[in-house]
């Protein structure tokens, strides 16, 4: 039996997916409120930057992996227009439910799919853009997931990975204080769930830093991989192209 990490704990590989699912079932309803409060609204800025870098044009086929509450898919669907195709997918049913209803309330009817990013149910060379925002961290086999994302991309298509990353060195101390003390406390007060937010903080620390993720994307076969530090490296957007 192989082991993997769940935050700072070491768990069996089979358990990780279940544990992550538990976290998101628990926070789904308050997910957006918590995001706003915890990041001071900054996750919107990061997503806006991602959307801008994606450069979706009318008619594009876009896959939003771990789309959760549908922030990216909503913007992509508007940009891709009626001739485009935007798929909202997530492995977590609770989150996907919230996202589906939210898109519908904004007048967008897009295909919504519950699926595992490590085994994407799409043909090769299908999408113009694949995005994964704050989802890669929770995947058990990141290299397998990245390879799958590359597989479904058309040649010339772009993969965008928005994820928490390693913060700029001088800010490390206050950032640690914030994420290990303030964050679980706020999670307790607002969502009534400190554990899930402790997992969030820990999983961010366990996630590969900018350079490591870049080399992982290159190993998965993506070309011209580059990254942009957002908010001093609290988050980073990695982009790569399938050639």
């Amino acid at each position: 039996m192989t082991n993997t990490h769940f935050g700072y704990q070491t768990v069996a590989e089979e358990e990780k997916a279940q544990k992550v699912a538990g976290v998101f079932h628990s926070v789904a309803a308050k997910y957006d409120v918590m995001n706003d409060v915890m990041s001071g609204g900054m996750h919107r800025l990061w997503k806006a930057f991602t959307i801008a870098r994606a450069g979706v044009r009318p008619g594009f086929k876009v896959l939003d992996i771990a789309g959760g509450t549908g922030d990216l898919a909503r913007a992509f669907a508007k940009q891709a227009g009626p001739t485009g195709e935007v798929w909202l997918t997530d492995i977590n049913e609770s989150m996907l439910r919230v996202g589906r209803d939210r898109l519908l309330n904004r007048g967008l009817v897009t295909p919504t799919l519950l699926c595992d990013a490590e085994k994407l149910p799409f043909p090769d060379d299908y999408f113009d853009r694949v995005s994964v925002a704050f989802g890669l961290r929770n995947m058990t086999h990141k290299d397998a997931a990245l390879a799958e994302m590359r597989r479904v991309l058309k040649p010339g298509g772009k993969l965008l990975v928005l994820e928490f990353s390693k913060v700029w060195q001088p800010l490390q101390k206050p950032y640690d204080l914030y994420s290990f003390s303030v964050l679980p406390w706020m999670g307790q007060k607002i969502a009534g769930d400190a554990e899930s937010y402790r997992y969030l903080a820990e999983s961010i620390r366990m996630h590969p830093d900018q350079e490591t993720l870049k080399s992982m994307m290159q190993a998965a076969g993506l070309e011209r991989v580059e990254y942009f530090n957002l908010t001093a490296g609290v988050a980073a957007l990695h982009t790569g192209i399938k050639l």
Partner: protein, 305 residues
């Protein structure tokens, strides 16, 4: 001279024609036709009063689907403002091609400001939450009174409203002796979700004059009416865009051979290319045969006024 006059007159008449046509371009043109539900009209006073309160605040509309009273959103205004600023800046940066380093620097500055704001916001939130519980000094009590009065008032208002709404159709049902209401075991959220999907899909089909798609989701009478309207429209392009939508199941009427469900759609819609979104509200009456395998299909559109 005569020629000029005639051309002028022609121009004026065509312009007025264009203007009157551009009024409502959504499916059905904003009119009432097809099957009409008596029960909807009977409870119209309460409907219109409710649509008047929901219309100016479309942002709160999607939340009210669960029946929860809309809370005053004032504390969020700051955060949303900041987020909007962020969105704008993000778009601007990428527009000018300013990549990594510059974006990172600016966003760092923004982060400091936003974090300060978030800390202030949380501090205020918990202060307010804890205030009435703990023992307070005299001046603190006075301060809390100031803060609390508007919030309490605005919470009572929306809560009392649904009660009034519920009693109204019930009274109407008694008078008409027609069963009007929602069965307890009816899956309302799923029904409304499909209803919204149909609404959006049919608007798109209406834009494209997609006769086949419209036929699939309408009763034969309704389809005939809609096809006539599309033919009258001719080749003029039609662009509707549903910006936000909320659905409410007003009630289901059961007759000998069919069910008639009245769904009130409200939200914001832009009814011409590039036009600003305007609030809309109308009732769609969906029918389904009591026996047989037929699904719900659109039987009529009803305006509430």
């Amino acid at each position: 001279m005569k020629k000029i006059l005639i051309t002028l007159m022609l121009m004026v008449t065509t312009m007025t024609l264009v203007i009157s046509e551009a009024e409502a371009r959504r499916m059905g043109g904003g009119g009432s036709f097809g099957r009409q539900s008596q029960s909807v009209t009977r409870s119209a006073p309460s409907q219109s009063s409710q649509s008047a309160t929901t219309a100016p605040k479309p942002a709160a509309a999607p939340n009210s689907a669960a029946g929860a009273p809309a809370k005053p959103a004032s504390p969020w205004r700051g955060i949303l403002g900041g987020a909007l600023l962020g969105l704008g800046l993000g778009a601007l940066l990428s527009h000018f091609g300013l990549g990594g380093a510059m974006a990172s620097m600016i966003s760092t500055l923004l982060m400091i400001g936003l974090l300060a704001f978030a800390v202030m916001f949380i501090y205020r939130m918990f202060r307010r939450k804890n205030a009435p519980v703990g023992p307070q000094s005299a001046y603190a009590g006075a301060y809390n009174k100031d803060v609390y009065t508007p919030e309490i008032g605005s919470r009572i208002e929306p809560q009392s409203q649904p009660a009034a709404l519920q009693s109204q159709p019930l009274a109407g049902a008694g008078a008409a002796a027609a069963p009007w209401g929602v069965p307890a075991d009816f899956d309302v959220p799923a029904f409304l979700r499909s209803a919204k999907t149909y609404f959006i899909r049919l608007q798109a089909a209406w834009d494209k004059a997609d006769i086949n798609d419209i036929r699939e989701f309408t009763t034969p009478e309704m389809f005939a009416e809609l096809r006539m309207q599309i033919q009258e429209r001719g080749a003029t392009p039609n662009n509707t865009d549903v910006v936000s939508i909320d659905a409410e199941l007003l009630g289901i009427e059961t007759s000998a051979d069919e069910y008639l469900a009245s769904v009130k759609f409200s939200g914001m819609m832009s009814e011409a290319a590039g036009a600003p979104a305007a609030p809309f509200a109308e009732v769609w009456n969906l029918s389904k045969p009591v026996s047989g395998a037929g699904g719900w299909s659109l039987a009529g559109i009803q305006q509430i006024s």
